[in-house]
């Protein structure tokens, strides 16, 4: 026992970390910042989830029961913004902070002070956004896509707060991305060539370039909304020579790469977990890298597939349809590679692997509906219905969120130094898996049957489907409390984790002890 205490003292002395709140406020340590990002993301996941519960409760039955249509619109809008900018993106940035330096053998991120700043402005952005809900007239209610002129001439007084909040989130993302790029390019350990980097590092490098390319476009879009609303410009107002459809072109030029920003790091996570628990090297490493890069490039050429009904020329519709369908090829390559990695491996089903397998199957289902949506003539029927809602929740919840869960279960022993409660983790997995499908699968049918999205009340023929969906929603929401409980329990104690708790795992992060010391790789490791 005394040796443990000694170790601790020694470590604390060696680490020079201040105690109490100042440790977290002033930290420049990538692990501290990574943890803060991850906790922030988890809190936002529950905040956005609570809003989803309000939505599902209102939609449980036809008629207006709980909330007014205007508040319903605020819920759908802020749910989207919180989940995208508050839950998914910070979760990936948190994972990058924790894992990228350890995976490439670097002592920390390249720009530690900027790292601190990029995290600490985020809570302020969300305080601004969420407090706008309590303003007179309510928060943003024009959908997370904030199409003009609904978000300009016709929006309520809190629009300025929405604009500033999005600006701060964008600045935070850009700084995070710069940090990732500089770290990966400059701080790899000797011998860690580009084509030896783990795929999580590769996918994050490409994601970071996407972020730098498109977040300024979003900033431009919100600024134009701001000046149109408050300063009399007419970017999106036809009466002043502008064009409301131009808003959509600008928004989706950001918006489409944005959806890959939220899925490419997932590909990296899954490409780490499947080989570990198949005890076999990742199949087609270099084709994975090329596929990721081609998805990123194609993502700039497909934005208008969100806008087929806006009245584009046939030529443009054909171009965007073909490019969109093309994305299925590199995405397919990835799925085939994962299946080939499992093929003739020695597979075991630890919790990270369960989430990874669910990811592959359910993300692929989201991919199928994506190909269907890409076909312009049929998209006229699917567009803005629950079919679309089902599609993007399959790729974002059972895609991005499941991959973050998989990553958490994979690296929790490394972060906390403890093994988590496996029974609880399995319970969380099975509850999530079943409820998420009860939640999102029937939405396909609601959409095909003709139910538009973003409506607080619906015709009676959609009643049964919505009731089932809502029950799935409540069950999925409650299941996530298990995860919260598990993480807290694991952080506070548990069976001691070894440096490499998964026998098939590969990579530099498993060469350091668990929990990872405050400073790692102060002397760079040598990679053969």
């Amino acid at each position: 026992m005394s040796t443990v205490v000694d170790d601790h003292n020694h470590e604390a002395h060696h680490d020079h970390k201040p105690s109490g709140i100042t440790r977290w406020l002033f930290t420049t340590n990538h692990k501290d910042i990574g943890s803060m990002y991850l906790w922030f993301s988890l809190i936002m996941f529950f905040v956005g989830g609570a809003m989803a519960m309000v939505i599902r409760a209102e939609l449980f039955q036809p008629g207006l029961q709980l909330v007014e249509p205007q508040f319903f619109n605020q819920m759908t809008t802020v749910h989207g913004l919180v989940m995208i900018f508050g839950a998914v993106m910070p979760a990936f940035t948190g994972l990058a902070n924790w894992m990228v330096p350890m995976m490439i053998g670097a002592p920390d991120m390249a720009l530690p002070r900027m790292n601190n700043w990029s995290f600490w402005i985020l809570p302020f952005a969300f305080v601004i956004l969420l407090s706008s809900l309590f303003m007179e007239g309510g928060g943003p209610d024009f959908g997370w896509t904030f199409y003009a002129p609904l978000s300009t001439t016709y929006s309520n007084d809190s629009t300025a707060l929405f604009v500033f909040a999005v600006h701060i989130m964008g600045i935070s993302s850009i700084m995070g991305a710069i940090n990732v790029i500089v770290t990966i390019i400059n701080m790899r350990a000797p011998g860690m060539t580009y084509m030896k980097m783990p795929l999580f590092v590769w996918t994050w490098l490409i994601t970071a370039f996407l972020l730098i390319a498109v977040m300024p476009v979003l900033a431009g879009a919100v600024t134009m909304v701001l000046t149109d609303k408050y300063f009399g410009t007419s970017f999106f107002n036809a009466a002043g020579g502008g064009d409301p459809v131009m808003f959509q072109h600008i928004f989706w030029f950001f918006g489409h790469p944005e959806v890959y920003i939220m899925i490419l790091p997932s590909f990296g996570i899954i490409s780490a977990i499947i080989p570990t628990f198949s005890r076999k090297k990742l199949f087609g490493y270099s084709s994975m890298v090329y596929a990721t890069a081609s998805i990123a490039i194609l993502s700039f050429l497909v934005w208008a597939h969100h806008m087929f009904t806006t009245g584009m020329p046939v030529f443009a519709e054909l171009f965007f349809m073909y490019c969109t369908m093309l994305i299925a090829v590199p995405t397919g390559v990835k799925v085939f590679n994962w299946v080939a990695t499992m093929w003739r491996g020695a597979i075991s089903f630890e919790v990270p692997m369960l989430f990874a397998l669910a990811f592959v199957i359910l993300f692929t289902i989201g991919g199928f509906s994506g190909v269907m949506l890409a076909m312009t003539p049929v998209d006229f029927q699917y567009h803005d219905t629950y079919f679309v809602v089902a599609h993007f929740h399959y790729v974002l919840v059972t895609g991005a969120i499941f991959s973050v869960m998989a990553a958490s279960y994979y690296w929790l022993p490394k972060w906390t130094g403890h093994m988590y409660d496996t029974t609880l983790a399995r319970l969380h997995f099975w509850c999530s898996l079943i409820s998420v499908n009860v939640l999102f699968f029937p939405m396909h049918f609601a959409g095909l049957a003709g139910m538009p999205r973003r409506i607080p009340d619906y015709a009676v023929q959609f009643a049964d489907i919505n009731q089932i969906t809502s029950i799935g929603g409540f069950a999925f929401g409650l299941s996530q409390l298990l995860f919260l409980w598990l993480v807290i329990k694991c952080a506070r104690g548990g069976e001691k984790a070894t440096a490499k708790p998964w026998d098939g795992a590969e990579g530099l992060e498993w060469t350091v002890p668990s929990p990872a010391p405050y400073h790692t790789f102060e002397t760079p490791p040598k990679v053969e």
Partner: protein, 376 residues
């Protein structure tokens, strides 16, 4: 719609799935285009199913056969150029196969030339306006479901939220062209049975077309988030045979021309306070209350209150009040109602606003005042 016990859900669900098979899949519709779209939908769906069965089948085979607990030793391979080229090429060819029929359907859908009938569809918060080209026929089409049904005070009718006061009437067998636009925010005109969904963009005109095969009633609704009552602006189309349609449009045209004449004659007539208030309350509740609320309190921060507002309660502001109702407020959600309501309706609703909810100005506005304000 009464609440059903939860345990009965799966049972009820499968029962309703059997009785309304259509409601779980895409609408097949009543036009050649909508059937092409449906066929395309089913083709892609089946292709996806086959790919899914193959990929997931291999995955499950591997999960069952290649597990560690069976004592498997992992194989060593981790690349195979031939296989990788193959599974890049095959999906590509499948996609080309899908793109060919999609392209021809799309080109047919976008050919709006040689229309027999042209109709201008204008969306506004939260109703549709239809104007028949070359005829003196135009009208607004609003939700007909009672507010009490929405508030769960009355039972919900069969076509809850899918019924309107004035449906659009179209001929069968003729090519109908829609010119779609908007007065305020973006709306989207969608009737699944025609596979027509076109955004209504303010300041721009979009084109779409359809040719309906069978007479009938077809329902749809707005498909683009357009504010508070986006869920409450349905579309109903009645398709009539060309003979019935010709009869309907002649009658409606005659009726509308007669009504315009009557309006001109009524200009000289004075209405009493009671008449004005009664008519005004009706118009207010159907046209203004969605934003300004039935009690005139508005929604703070978004829609201004009329009760006690200087414009609606101070005598010196009466001209300003009339001007706002007629021409709207630039840069806000307040629309111009000069073309949406008759002069009598405008006069009565302004009178109502100036005398209801404690705005007791005692002033009356007559149709002649509106006429004068319009001609100013």
């Amino acid at each position: 719609m009464k609440m059903k016990p939860l345990w009965a859900l799966p049972l009820l669900y499968s029962a309703s799935a059997l009785s309304q098979e259509r409601s779980l899949n895409l609408t097949k519709g009543v036009t050649e285009v909508s059937r092409d779209v449906y066929d395309l939908h089913m083709t892609i769906f089946y292709i996806c199913c086959v790919i899914g069965v193959v990929v997931f089948g291999l995955m499950f085979y591997s999960m069952i056969r290649h597990r560690k607990s069976r004592g498997r030793e992992p194989a060593k391979f981790h690349e195979n150029v031939k296989v990788e080229i193959l599974w890049t090429l095959i999906p590509f060819l499948i996609l080309v196969g899908m793109a060919i029929p999609a392209t021809s359907t799309l080109i047919a859908m976008e050919d709006t030339s040689d229309a027999d009938v042209t109709i201008q569809v204008t969306g506004s918060q939260w109703k549709w306006h239809y104007k028949y080209f070359d005829r003196e026929v135009e009208f607004f089409s609003r939700l007909a479901t009672q507010q009490q049904q929405i508030d769960n005070k009355f039972d919900k009718s069969e076509n809850y939220l899918r019924e309107v006061d004035n449906p659009l009437v179209l001929p069968t067998g003729q090519k109908v062209r829609f010119l779609v636009t908007s007065d305020d925010v973006i709306h989207s005109w969608w009737v699944p049975d025609f596979a027509v969904k076109k955004d209504a963009n303010p300041g721009f005109i979009n084109e779409a077309w359809t040719r309906i095969d069978e007479p009938g009633i077809y329902r749809g609704q707005c498909a683009e988030l357009c504010g508070k009552d986006h869920g409450f602006m349905p579309i109903v189309v009645i398709a009539k045979t060309p003979e019935d349609y010709a009869k309907w449009i002649d009658e409606t045209e005659a009726k509308q021309i007669a009504e315009q004449k009557r309006q001109q004659e009524l200009l000289d007539m004075e209405m009493s306070m009671d008449e004005l208030m009664a008519m005004g309350e009706k118009i207010y509740n159907s046209t203004c209350a969605a934003c300004h609320q039935p009690n005139g309190q508005g929604i703070s921060g978004t829609f201004p209150a009329l009760a006690g507002s200087p414009i609606a309660s101070k005598p010196e502001n009466i001209d300003k009040h009339i001007d706002i109702v007629l021409h709207g407020v630039q840069g806000s959600a307040m629309q111009a109602f000069a073309q949406q309501l008759t002069m009598q309706e405008l006069a009565s609703v302004i009178t109502y606003e100036r005398n209801a909810w404690g705005n007791d100005t005692g002033e009356m506005v007559q149709a002649a005042d509106i006429n004068a304000a319009m001609n100013k």
